[in-house]
C-alpha cells in the first residue's frame, strides 16, 4: 500500500525489493544469499552494545512513491538549532529533517559535473549504474567486501538501496570533488546505501559524502557498505562527514583495495549517532601501495563512537598512516579500534599509527584497542597514543583574555582536531568548528 512504510525483514521483502527495482537475476540471488547469511550470523560479541537494535522495527525499503512526510514541528529542537548554527537554507533543512521527500538539486548539480562527465567519469546512483553498466557493476560488486564479511555487510547486501557508483577512467584527474550529498534524495539517502568506486590506473578523484548537518532519520539503523578500487598509480581520497541524530546505530563497512603505487586516503568524521562502528580499511595489494586514514570522532551524551581503521599490508614497500583524534564529553565513550598487519611478503613496509584522545569531563571515556601483527622482519609498525584532559590551567589562561568557559573549551577542542580539520575543505572546517562550539555551550556550569 503506497504511503505505508513496511517494517520488518523476511526473504519475501528481499525478493520484493529486487523485483521492484527490476534487477538482474545475479543481484537477486546475491541479495537472497546475503539475507540467508544475515539471519544465521550473530551480532558481534565485541565492541559496543548492539542488543537494542530491533531488526523487525526497521523499514528496509520505501518505494519512490512513498511519502514519508514529517511535520516540521516533530523535528527535535536540537536538530533545528544545529541547522541554525550551520546556516542551512530552509529547502535543505526540510530535506535533511525528512519534512520534504525530495531534494531537488540534482539538475543544478549535474551541470557542475559536466566537465568530469566529458572525460568519461561515471557518477550515478548505484541503482542507475546497475541498469546502465551491469557488467562493470557485477565485476566489482561485493568482491572487496563479501556479504559474509560481517552481519551488517550481509544485511546491506540483502537490502541495499541507493548509494553512489563512480568510475574514473585511466589517466583522468577529476579536479572538483565529487559530492554525493547533493545527488541524493531522501529515499536513497537511506539506511542501506551501497557505494562502489573504481579509480582506474593513473587517475585521481576526491569523493565526498555526507554533511555536517544532522541527518534526522526515522529509522535507527544505518548499515552502509563502501567498496573502493584503487588501481595502479591511482589516488583516491574519500571524505565522510556524518552527523547522525542521537538514536541511530551507524554500522558501516568500508574497504579499499589498493594496487601498485596506488594511494587511498580515508578522511572520516563521525559526529552524532548512538553507536558508530566504523573501521575503514585499506588492503595494500600492490607493491608500493599506500593507505591513509584520518579519523575524527566526537562522542557526546549517550554516544559511543567506536572507530578506527585497518591497514593490511600484502605487498612489499607498502606504507600506511592512521591518525585518529577523538573527543569525549558529557558521558560519551570514544574508542579507537584498529588493526595493522604486515604479511610475510610485505617486505620493507611501514606503518605509523597515532591516536590522540581528549576527554572533556570526568564522566566521559576513551579507550584504545590497537592490534598489530608484523609477520616479517623487514617491516616496522609505530604506534603512538595519548590521552589528555582539558586542563584548568588552559581554561584559566583563555578566560583571562575575556573568553567564557565554553568558548575556551571550544578553542581547545578546535585546536586539538586541527590536524584533521586542515585537511578538510574550508566550508566543512568552518561548519565543524561551529558544531563543536555548539556542543560546548551548556556543557559547563
Amino acid at each position: 500500500m503506497p504511503g505505508e512504510a513496511r517494517r520488518g525483514l523476511s526473504r519475501q521483502v528481499v525478493e520484493e525489493i529486487s523485483s521492484l527495482k527490476n534487477e538482474p537475476k545475479w543481484m537477486r540471488d546475491y541479495r537472497l544469499k546475503s539475507f540467508a547469511y544475515f539471519t544465521e550470523k550473530e551480532i558481534p560479541d565485541w565492541g559496543p552494545d548492539l542488543s537494542k537494535v530491533d531488526f523487525n522495527d526497521i523499514c528496509y525499503y520505501l518505494k519512490p512513491l512513498d511519502k514519508e512526510k514529517r511535520d516540521w514541528n516533530e523535528v527535535p529542537e536540537k536538530i533545528k538549532k544545529t541547522f541554525e548554527v550551520l546556516g542551512i537554507p530552509q529547502a535543505e533543512r526540510d530535506y535533511l529533517a525528512g519534512v520534504k521527500a525530495q531534494y531537488d538539486s540534482e539538475v543544478a548539480y549535474s551541470s557542475l559535473q559536466k566537465e568530469a562527465e566529458e572525460e568519461g567519469v561515471i557518477f550515478l546512483s548505484m541503482d542507475q549504474a546497475l541498469k546502465k553498466y551491469p557488467s562493470l557493476v557485477q565485476e566489482h560488486f561485493g568482491k572487496l567486501i563479501p556479504f559474509s564479511d560481517n552481519k551488517f555487510s550481509a544485511l546491506n547486501s540483502a537490502v541495499w538501496s541507493g548509494g553512489s557508483f563512480v568510475y574514473i577512467p585511466k589517466g583522468v584527474k577529476v579536479k572538483r570533488p565529487l559530492q554525493a550529498y547533493f545527488r541524493l534524495n531522501a529515499r536513497n539517502m537511506g539506511q542501506f546505501e551501497r557505494t562502489l568506486i573504481i579509480a582506474d590506473e593513473n587517475s585521481f578523484a576526491h569523493y565526498i559524502e555526507g554533511c555536517t548537518a544532522p541527518v534526522y532519520s526515522a529509522d535507527s539503523l544505518h548499515a552502509a557498505v563502501v567498496e573502493v578500487y584503487v588501481k595502479k598509480n591511482a589516488r583516491l581520497r574519500y571524505t565522510t562527514i556524518q552527523n547522525w541524530s542521537g538514536d541511530v546505530y551507524n554500522l558501516v563497512t568500508k574497504r579499499a583495495g589498493v594496487e601498485e603505487n596506488g594511494v587511498m586516503e580515508w578522511v572520516d568524521g563521525n559526529l552524532g549517532s548512538r553507536v558508530t562502528m566504523k573501521y575503514p580499511s585499506c588492503y595494500l595489494i600492490g607493491k608500493g601501495a599506500r593507505g591513509e586514514m584520518l579519523s575524527l570522532s566526537y562522542a557526546g551524551e549517550n554516544q559511543n563512537q567506536d572507530a578506527g581503521a585497518k591497514m593490511v599490508h600484502l605487498a612489499p614497500n607498502t606504507s600506511s598512516i592512521i591518525v585518529s583524534k577523538s573527543v569525549s564529553q558529557k558521558g560519551g565513550v570514544s574508542s579507537y579500534r584498529g588493526l595493522v598487519e604486515m604479511s610475510p611478503i610485505a617486505y620493507n613496509s611501514k606503518s605509523h599509527v597515532e591516536c590522540d584522545a581528549l576527554i572533556l569531563d570526568s564522566k566521559s571515556f576513551s579507550n584504545t584497542y590497537p592490534v598489530m601483527r608484523n609477520n616479517n622482519n623487514t617491516s616496522y609498525i609505530e604506534h603512538e597514543a595519548s590521552v589528555s584532559k582539558v586542563s584548568d590551567e588552559k581554561i584559566f589562561y583563555l578566560m583571562s583574555r575575556g573568553l567564557s568557559k565554553s568558548e575556551a573549551m571550544g578553542l581547545i577542542v578546535s585546536g586539538f582536531i586541527e590536524p584533521i580539520i586542515k585537511d578538510l575543505s574550508m566550508e566543512y572546517a568552518v561548519e565543524l568548528n561551529n558544531l563543536i562550539n555548539m556542543e560546548m555551550e551548556g556543557s559547563v556550569g
Binding site: D392, E393, K394, F396, Y397, L398, M399, S400, R401, G402, L403, S404, K405, E407, L411, I412, S414, G415, F416, I417, E418, P419
Partner: protein, 236 residues
C-alpha cells in the same frame, strides 16, 4: 584603580596570602618584589580570579567595585589583564583567529579579518614581530622571549585598564627586554603592577611605588629608592 583589602588566600587548604593590603591609584606603576615563593604570583592569579586561589577573607576592588565574586572572563572584560609568568601552550589554535576573537569579545566595534590585520600592524612593529606569527599556534614551540612578546601583543589587542605583569622580564635577552620595556612605556592611560625579581626592567619605567613581599604578606612599601636598598641588602 585597584584596591586589595585585607586579603587572605588559600590554595588546597594552605594559606598562601595573609592579610594583603595594596592600593594602586589610576595611572600609576607599582612594582611588587620578593623572593620565589613569597606569594607574588598567587596575588596576581587571585586578582585575575583563578578558581584555584580561594579567598578566605578580604576583598578585591577594581574601579571602585568589589570584584571578589566575579569570574575570570568578566574581570578580563572589565579591563584587567594578567601577563602570565609561564604562558600556556594551546596546540592547534591559530594566533590570528584567536587574537581577533579576543578583540571582538571585548570590544563593541567588531573587526573583520582585514581590518583587524590593519589594526594590529602597529603592535607587531612595536614588538618587532613579523606577521608570520599569525600563522602559528598559540605559544606552541615559542621561545621564552617570543612567549612574553605574545603576552604583550594580547595585552595591546585587549587594551586593558590594569596590566599585571608576572615576571615579564624573566628569560629575556637584553634586546627583547629593551623592546618590552619600551612598549610598556608607550602604553598610555594604564595602571601597571610589575612583579619581578630584578630591577633591570625598571630602568625603562618609572614606578611610583615599590612593595616587598615575604611569606605571603607585604612587609614593606616605599618609593623607587626602596629598590636601591634591595639591590644592596636583599629582601629584608
Amino acid at each position: 584603580m585597584l584596591k586589595v583589602k585585607e586579603l587572605s588566600v588559600e590554595i588546597e587548604n594552605n594559606l598562601i596570602l595573609n592579610n594583603i593590603n595594596l592600593e594602586i591609584p589610576d595611572g600609576e606603576i607599582h612594582v611588587l618584589m620578593g623572593k620565589n615563593g613569597s606569594g607574588k604570583s598567587t596575588l596576581a592569579q587571585t586578582i585575575m580570579g583563578n578558581p584555584m586561589c580561594k579567598i578566605s577573607s578580604g576583598e578585591i576592588y577594581f574601579k571602585g567595585k568589589n570584584i571578589s565574586d566575579l569570574n575570570t572572563e568578566n574581570r578580563a572584560k572589565q579591563g584587567i589583564f594578567l601577563s602570565f609568568q609561564n604562558p600556556i601552550e594551546i596546540p592547534g589554535v591559530n594566533i590570528f583567529g584567536y587574537l581577533r576573537t579576543i578583540y571582538n569579545q571585548t570590544h563593541e566595534n567588531k573587526l573583520s579579518p582585514v581590518k583587524f590585520r590593519e589594526h594590529t600592524k602597529k603592535y607587531l612593529e612595536m614588538l618587532d614581530l613579523k606577521d608570520d606569527i599569525y600563522n602559528r599556534f598559540l605559544n606552541e614551540g615559542f621561545s621564552g622571549g617570543e612567549k612574553k612578546k605574545l603576552e604583550l601583543l594580547q595585552c595591546l589587542v585587549l587594551e586593558p585598564r590594569l596590566i599585571i605583569l608576572d615576571e615579564i622580564d624573566s628569560g629575556l635577552d637584553v634586546e627583547a627586554l629593551k623592546i618590552i620595556g619600551e612598549v610598556l612605556n608607550r602604553i598610555e592611560n594604564t595602571t601597571i603592577l610589575i612583579i619581578t625579581h630584578y630591577a633591570r626592567i625598571l630602568k625603562y619605567l618609572s614606578p611610583s611605588r615599590v612593595h616587598i613581599m615575604s611569606e605571603g604578606t607585604i612587609i614593606k612599601s616605599g618609593d623607587i629608592n626602596l629598590i636601591d636598598q634591595i639591590e644592596e641588602k636583599g629582601f629584608k
